[in-house]
């Protein structure tokens, strides 16, 4: 393997781990208080009641597993793929909320209703994360990844 290839692999591994840390961090507040997260979901006025509660039960754990998967390089393709799907869905929901002029909390990293008011910056942030997740998914190799170790041992 040439030096530029090694450098590229290392850069992608760093991006993968950073993305994983971000998703894991975002999931923690939602996991510890699913009712508050369901309230944040309801504030978007798209789903409510049991549907919001179902999302609040499942989504944070999927986020957390994706985070761990990206950090450890375990099921990293599936984690990156899901990260892209979730980011696309979050972006669509935020766009819809902004279009309707909702002045609500994002509910992305904290469930404090007074913090993290929605804004166009969120679209920019998600766009950057989408690019990172796509780069990770499309990269043919993963270094610092448990997947490699496990495949070798099989």
């Amino acid at each position: 393997m040439t030096t530029p290839q090694i450098r590229r692999d290392a850069a992608i591994a760093v991006l993968r781990i950073l993305l994983g840390v971000l998703f894991l961090y975002a999931s923690l507040g939602k996991i510890t208080d699913p009712t508050a997260f369901a309230s944040s979901v309801t504030a978007y006025d798209i789903v409510g009641g049991h549907a919001a509660l179902f999302l609040a039960t499942v989504l944070p754990w999927v986020e957390a597993l994706c985070g761990v998967g990206l950090i450890l390089g375990l099921f990293w393709r599936g984690s990156a793929f899901l990260t892209i799907l979730m980011l696309a869905q979050f972006t669509a929901v935020v766009l819809y909320a902004l279009w309707r002029g909702l002045d609500i909390s994002c509910g992305c990293y904290t469930q404090d209703p007074a913090a993290e008011r929605l804004g166009w910056w969120k679209i920019g942030e998600n766009a950057i994360l989408l690019v990172v997740a796509t780069l990770v998914l499309r990269h043919p190799r993963a270094i610092l990844a448990l997947d490699r170790v496990l495949r070798r041992s099989l």
Binding site: P34, G48, F54, T57, L65, A80, L82, L85, P113
Partner: protein, 167 residues
């Protein structure tokens, strides 16, 4: 040496990613339901159901009937404080009410510290089956609020009378 066509490589990549993604979602759903079941949250949240044995005794704030609460609400003479969870509050509440979930309430709560101490407050929760309105009212009293009362019929009685609600 094996030669992979770029299209077949992309297809293989997406297939692997999709299979792994399904596994992650299933595992996430199982973990989510197991965790909330074990911790009694989300779908498995239990509402405190204790009837006060002696309402309006010396240690608890005065209770309001529906008519009294309605009158205060119509005349906008009191701030209604919802003691239920923020999720329940989000699902519907008395119009103009503010949310101070009992589990989050302490004298340093930003809303509690911001309100003037002579503000007339009416606390409520679901209704006669819950006691968080009383607990919150007691806490507000001890925080220095002198005009705190409990609308004991709560959200259930309010809805029964088709009074103003949000959202």
């Amino acid at each position: 040496m094996e030669i992979h066509h770029p299209k077949s490589r992309t297809r293989e990549l997406l297939r692997t990613a999709a299979v792994e993604a399904i596994r992650i979602v299933l595992l996430g759903a199982a973990a989510g339901f197991l965790f909330t079941a074990l911790t009694g949250q989300g779908f498995f949240r239990h509402t405190t159901r204790t009837n006060p044995t002696a309402p309006n005794d010396a240690s608890t704030p005065p209770f309001l009937t529906y008519e009294e609460a309605e009158s205060l609400h119509v005349r906008q003479e009191a701030l209604f404080v919802d003691a239920r969870s923020s999720y329940d509050f989000g699902m519907g509440h008395i119009a103009g009410a503010v949310s101070i979930p009992l589990q989050d309430s302490d004298p340093t709560h930003p809303l509690i510290s911001a309100l003037p101490r002579d503000q007339q407050l009416v606390t409520y929760c679901d209704g006669e089956e819950c006691s968080s309105s009383i607990a919150l009212a007691t806490l507000l009293q001890s925080a220095g609020f002198s005009k705190v009362r409990v609308f004991f019929g709560g959200w259930n009685e309010w809805r029964k009378h088709h009074q103003a609600t949000e959202p």
